[in-house]
Structure formats: C-alpha cells, structure tokens
C-alpha cells in the first residue's frame, strides 16, 4: 500500500485529492476475502473519468459481488506521473492504494480515440509491458470496452480481449470464468480460448488479417463474427443506487440517471445512434426511484438525465412533472442535456426553468434542408425557429448552435445556409414583442469537422482534406461577421487523427506505439497534443493518416472491424448511404421500422 509514499509527494502536485481515493461510497474490501480484483481504468484524468456513468455502473455491479473487488484508476497528469516515477510508485487503485499490476483484470473504457496513448502510458506506469504478447501470465488480463471498442483494431497489440456492446452481463460472466481458470491454474491462452466462447467477447489473437497490395484488407480469418451484447429490458439492467462522491470538483459533479438507451433517429453521421441500438426506455417509476436513491446516497443537489435524445422519451412530459415535483421540493437542480430542438416545447421549458436556468444548446448540424436531409437530421427550419421562439419567450437570451463542416454532399450554399439560419434566429428574437427587455441576443456557434465512423451509413465517406476544410471555415467566418455571434471550431489536426484511428486497422498499433514512445500522451488536451509527432509516427511506419481518414471506401471493401457485429446490418448501412446520396430521408424508428437488422429485440 502506497499511503506513506504518497504522503511524501501529494503536496507537490495539483489537486491531490484526486489521487488518494477514500471518497464517500468508494468501496473497500478485505483483500484476503477477494478472489478477483479488477482495475477499472479510465484513460483520462480523474476530473473527466469520474463524470462518466458507465464506470459508475460497472464499478457498483462488480463490487456487489462479495468476492470481487473493483477499483478506480485514472490517468495521472504529468506532475503526478513524474513524482510517481521518481518515487517508485506504480499505477495504483484508488481504493486499496496498491499497484494494479498484481490485479486480475485491468479494464480500459474506450470513449475517445485520442485517449489511446494514455492507455499505453498507464500500462507503462503500472510497470507492465504495453504489448499483450509480452504479458505471459494469466494475470493481469487487459480488457477494453465502450463505444470505441466497436473498432478496436488499432489497439489489438495492447489488449488481450474486448467486450462488445453493453457490459452489464458479460463482465460478470468473464470474471466468473476467470475465477474458475485461476483456481484451476489455467494458462493465459487457455483462459483466452474459453473467454472467446462467451457471447460478446472478442479475442483479437484468434483472428488473422491479410492485406492487398493497395493496403486494403484482403481477408480476415476465421469468418466467425462476434456479436455485441445487449440488455433486453432496461428496467431489469443493473443500475447503481449510489455513486462515489468526489471531494474535489470534477467536470460533471452530479447524479445521473439513464432514461433510455439507443436512439430512434438514425442521423447518418452519428455512431452512437447506431451502435447503441435497439431503442429501450426505462420506466418512469424506475427513473424516479433511481434519482431519489442517488440523491439520498450522494447528497448531490443536481441531477441530470442521460440519453441520446431526452425528448424522445415516450412520456417525457409526465416524467418531467414527476421528477420536478421531487427535485424542487428538495432544492435539487434538474438538467436536461441532449434535447432535440423539435421535441422542445413550452411545457418542457417550464419544467427546466422551475429549478434553475441553464444554457440551451441545439444541434441543427447543417445549414440547409437539403443537407439536413442527406444526413437524415430530420428537423426543419421551422422546428429550429419554433424551438428558439419558445426559448426566447421563456426568457432565454442566448442559444448555442452546433454545426458540422465537411459533411458528405456539403457545398458553399449550405454554408451560406448556416448564415441565413442564424440571421433568421436573430431577427426572430428582435421581432418578438415579449422578448426579455433591454437584453441583446447572443448566439454561439460551434463548428466541428465531420468524422466518418464505423457502423454508420457514412463509414464509407472520406473526411475532407485540411485545405478544403480550412477554405470552407474561412468562407463561413467571412460571411458570419456579426457582433451577436461568437464562433469556435475544432482543430483539423485533432479531427483527422480521430478519423484515422476510428477507422484504422491492426497496423496502426505500431503507429500508436511509436507516437507514445516519441512522447505523445494526453492527446485530448490542447496543451499536450503534438500533431507533428503523430505525423512522424505514421510516416515512420510507412503509412499516413490520409489513407485512413481521407479515402472513400467502396461498399465491397472489407472494413477492419468486419469480424464484429453491432447488430445493425451492413446491407442497411449501404442502403442508407445510397439514400443519403439521393437526399432521401429515413423516418425515425417510431414512425416506421427502417429494417436496420436489429430485429426481434426492438419494440419500436
């Protein structure tokens, strides 16, 4: 246990409370009575990782089993990492303060491509070889899961296995298998072979990939696919009734309750919209009960609803009335992220306002109806203006709007469309007789760059070149000159790397390794991101980002993730891509089943 060693260094680092654990609701166990120890690693800092709901679910799920102990591990910032190396402190679990290298599992949640080098950094800080092939013992088994695991190929060199889909059931099955193998003194390869028999477990070692001379994939063997796991009924899925309450401030320091999973919309650029299918709702009673116990057990005065699109919840108005009855009586603030502008109405606004006024964010994504049809963002200009009108009449004077640059089929007319839309919103504000008195409107616009992702209808599409994205951004900035509008945009360097890693293949393992060895870490942080080192790492491995990011992929090209089955069929994705090209929209699952292939389990 590192308590004494940590006492010597913690006052030399920023915000030491995040490195010492011991928070309310953190779980301590007698290790002599524990058979399987799991280090749940979030490859980002405590402040970010502790805000994540998935981690809270799996943490409680595992710790509810008496002889399993799950601890939390985060990426230390450079000041802490340097102190750890200087004082021979290996990466440790926040509960026991013991090195994770001796644990049975080291699990990483893969939320974002730009955290990949952090995984290598954390394995290294743990005193473990980063390459899976160099870790010969049964323990620790290094596992990955989460949204980026739907194409884990760039990470296969470092991981022993990946969990596909929702982890609630499969995690315990995996740990139980391990428990048996450990007691029977099985080897790592024996364990991995058995693990591959569990539905939803992908063991990359058991697959072989060959390439064509043009560098695309020739063949993946065996042909057997791994299907993602899902929880059929959300009401029956494990839900934690308490969260670890951090001492120090984190990004989202509040209770979170998941109200639905999956999305009925099918926006063609949105990976979450496809990989989290089918659409399932949690019942009002369960949500209310969950929120009550979370607030009682944490003392939080803020609760947020988690979903991909809150307004799609069948009985959203009834739900909000019930929730606000409880939250306002307890002085708890309720926040509603992920509201689609077309599901925004007076009643919802009143519910949100009754506790505290927070900002409003809408995502039209594109400036014209033509382009919104291509991406299947089924909202109209009328919806957008109506949503803004309700907000302004309700006292809001600022709106935040998200747009994407470089969407398939985008032309300069669509960029002008963004300007016209913003002009209309501003005109609408000043035309309202009952607008907030004496106040200016402020519109903040965030421009992101389109990133094609696996398992979406746009997985075939190229990302535009740096030159073209830059030209389009400059064009837009040139026509968007207005004091009431503030604009921010994402860095192309970040977007192109994200695009390359998202659709990358196994050969990117050595690129990631090189990038990390040359000093890349915390790539998601502007002050640490070093694009030149990444470019060099790609070049040193005889490849470049454009092959992965900026190339159109034919329908018959084998994608690196072909051995994985996210339940949405490839035929459907191709059909949707073709509909996009023709500008034909696909109605939401609630209006009409689009035949995505998920079948049976979907009740929409």
């Amino acid at each position: 246990m590192y308590k004494e060693k940590l006492d010597k260094i913690l006052l030399n680092v920023q915000k030491p409370a995040r490195y010492i654990g011991g928070e309310v609701n953190s779980v301590s166990k007698d290790k002599s009575k524990v058979d399987v120890r799991f280090a749940f690693c979030f490859p980002e800092t405590y402040d970010i990782g502790m805000s994540h709901l998935g981690m809270k679910i799996l943490y409680s799920l595992k710790n509810n089993v008496e002889n399993y102990w799950c601890e939390r591990v985060f990426m230390p910032l450079p000041d802490m990492a340097a102190e750890m190396r200087k004082n021979d402190i290996l990466l440790y679990g926040l509960e026991s303060l013991e090195p994770v290298r001796n644990f049975d599992f080291i699990g990483f949640t893969l939320q974002y491509e730009l955290t990949y080098t952090n995984i290598l950094a954390m394995l290294d800080l743990a005193g473990l070889p980063v390459l899976a092939s160099a870790r010969k013992n049964l323990n620790p088994i290094v596992v990955g899961g989460g949204p980026c695991a739907c194409n884990p190929e760039p990470l296969t060199d470092f991981f022993d296995l990946f969990v596909m889909g929702e982890g609630e059931e499969v995690n315990l099955e995996l740990m139980s298998l391990y428990e048996t193998c450990k007691s029977e003194k099985k080897s790592k390869s024996e364990f991995l072979e058995k693990a591959a028999q569990i539905d939803g477990i992908y063991v990359p070692l058991l697959y072989n990939v060959t390439y064509k001379t043009n560098n695309t994939i020739n063949k993946i063997t065996p042909e057997k696919t791994v299907k993602k796991r899902i929880v059929k009924e959300l009401d029956k899925a494990f839900t934690p009734d308490k969260f670890v309450v951090p001492f120090c401030e984190i990004v989202h320091d509040r209770a979170i309750s998941e109200i639905l999973r999956g999305c009925i919309r099918g926006c063609r650029f949105c990976q979450a919209g496809f990989i989290y299918r089918p659409y399932r709702e949690r019942s009002e009673d369960k949500i209310l009960g969950n929120i009550k116990s979370l607030c009682e057990n944490t003392g939080y005065d803020e609760v947020s609803l988690s979903s991909l699109s809150t307004g799609d919840y069948g009985k959203i108005e009834e739900l909000l009335v019930r929730l606000t009855n409880y939250t306002s009586s307890k002085n708890i603030n309720l926040s509603l992220p992920s509201m689609r502008i077309d599901s925004f109405n007076d009643e919802i606004l009143q519910q949100v306002k009754s506790v505290r006024k927070s900002g409003l964010t809408f995502a039209p994504e594109a400036g014209t109806q033509r382009l919104r049809d291509i991406i299947n963002k089924n909202i109209t200009e009328e919806d957008i203006l109506k949503g803004c009108k309700i907000a302004f009449e309700g006292g809001y004077t600022s709106v935040k709007l998200y747009f994407m640059l470089g969407l398939p089929g985008e032309t300069d007319d669509d960029l002008e469309g963004i300007k016209h839309l913003i002009d209309k919103i501003i005109d609408l504000y000043y035309a309202l007789p009952n607008r907030p008195k004496g106040k200016q409107i402020s519109v903040s616009v965030t421009l992101s760059t389109f990133i094609p992702k696996p398992f979406t209808p746009f997985e075939f599409e190229p990302q535009l070149s740096r030159e073209e994205i830059t030209r389009r951004r400059k064009f837009l900035l040139g026509i968007l000159k207005n004091k009431k509008v503030s604009i921010s945009w994402s860095d192309y360097d970040v977007s192109v790397l994200e695009a390359a890693l998202a659709r990358g293949d196994r050969r990117l393992g050595q690129v990631i390794m090189r990038a990390w060895k040359s000093g890349c870490e915390l790539d998601g942080w502007e002050e640490h991101f070093d694009f030149e080192k990444w470019e060099k790492a790609f070049a040193d491995c005889g490849t470049d980002m454009t092959f992965y990011a900026n190339r159109r992929r034919e329908y018959d090209e084998i994608p690196p993730w072909a051995m994985l089955d996210m339940l949405v069929s490839r035929e459907f994705l191709i059909a949707e891509n073709k509909r996009a090209v023709s500008g034909i929209t696909t109605p939401s699952c609630r209006e009409k089943c689009a035949g995505c292939g998920i079948g049976g389990v979907c009740n929409e």
Binding site: L10, G22, E249, E296, T298, G299, N331
Partner: protein, 207 residues
C-alpha cells in the same frame, strides 16, 4: 426559529488532501445525506448554510476542527453526531456537537503537533535574531519576521509542538515554519502536521 450548533470533527488520513473549499461542499453533501433539519439559505440558489471556524491548510490534519450550522427542528446533539458520522468516511469523523460558546472572531491561536524526520537544532533555529519568511500577496512578495510569533511548547524526540497565531487577524502556517527550518538546516524535511487545539483570546479552548 433556528438554533445554532457547532460541529467538531477530525480531518485525518486521506482527508487531509481535501482543500477547504472542497471540504465545505463535502460537509454540505454529508448534511444532505444525513437528512438533518438544517437551515438552508433562501436565495435564488438555496444551499445549506455552514461556516467554518478556522480553515485548515491542505495537507494538515486536524483533530479539533469545527463548523457551525443552524438547526431548524428539534434534534439532540447525539443524534446529529450519529447521523452525520453515518454519512461520512473513516477519515472525516464528527467528535461532538454542542451549542457554540465563543465567536469565530475570538480565535487567536492554534496549536500544532509536527512530526519531523529531523528535529536536531530546532531550538537553535528558533533562537536566531529573526526568522524571515516570504509571503505572496496581491501586491507581490513581502518579507515578514515570524520569530516573535512562534511559541515553542515542546520538543520531544521527533515531535515538536508549536503555538502559532491564528484567526481573523494574524496567521502563521506551520508549513512556513517548517520550510524556514528546512532552509536553516539546508535539508528537505518531511513533516506530518496536525492541528491539535484552537484557543481564544482569553487563553481558553475554542468551543
């Protein structure tokens, strides 16, 4: 009708890394979890009202820390303690709850126990003509002589007990004394500091 209560607690072990601001939030949440009838402010953003007697610097343990709350309902001091303890962690524990006697502004001194890996020549250090420390203020760095402010209570082996000015007026942080001693010795020192008592102007313990 609300009745003021003073809650005495200890902040030890892992909890010494909780900053003062974070501690305030931690206690507010603990009070919420304990579902005690505590008065909340009635403004636009209602929150539990609590005031700490004397903030404790990050990294220092305390065994006689306190904050004040206002109770809005009948509840015994023992019950307050028991409910709060159930809502807190091992390293943050309520010692007792009582009606306040002194006001915060009456605090004048605090006693610290310092476990040092090197106590040799500590008396020589204190017997210097002056002990200058640098303090960062809004106007820049200023130098102060803290020698007349340090009262040595005892040196027993590795343990030094000091009495230092504390409260709304003058304050000396024991960490500053240790780093000055470290500079005097030309060595990097390792110290475990605990605030063991808080005193008022009349020399009596702050209760």
């Amino acid at each position: 009708m609300s009745k003021p209560m003073r809650v005495f607690f200890r902040k030890t072990g892992r909890a010494k890394y909780i900053s003062h601001l974070d501690l305030q939030r931690t206690m507010q949440r603990a009070l919420k979890r304990a579902t005690l009838p505590v008065w909340e402010t009635e403004g636009f953003n209602p929150h539990i009202y609590l005031t700490f007697a004397l903030p404790l610097s990050l990294g220092i343990e305390g065994v006689c820390e306190s904050f004040d709350i206002k109770m809005t309902g009948e509840i015994s001091t023992d019950e307050i303690r028991a409910h709060l303890n159930a809502a807190l962690t091992e390293d943050l524990k309520i010692i007792c709850v009582a009606e306040p006697v002194y006001r915060h502004t009456e605090i004048q001194k605090a006693e610290y126990e310092i476990l040092l890996n090197e106590t040799d020549k500590f008396t020589e250090f204190l017997n210097q003509n002056e002990i200058i420390i640098k303090k960062k203020t809004k106007k820049g760095e200023i130098q102060t002589d803290i020698k007349p402010l340090i009262e040595l209570r005892a040196v027993e082996g590795e343990k030094i007990t000091l009495l230092l000015p504390a409260g709304t007026g003058l304050n000396v942080n024991p960490i500053q004394v240790i780093s000055a001693f470290g500079a005097f010795r030309g060595a990097e020192l390792q110290a475990d500091v605990t605030r063991t008592a808080v005193f008022c102007a009349d020399g009596k313990a702050f209760i």
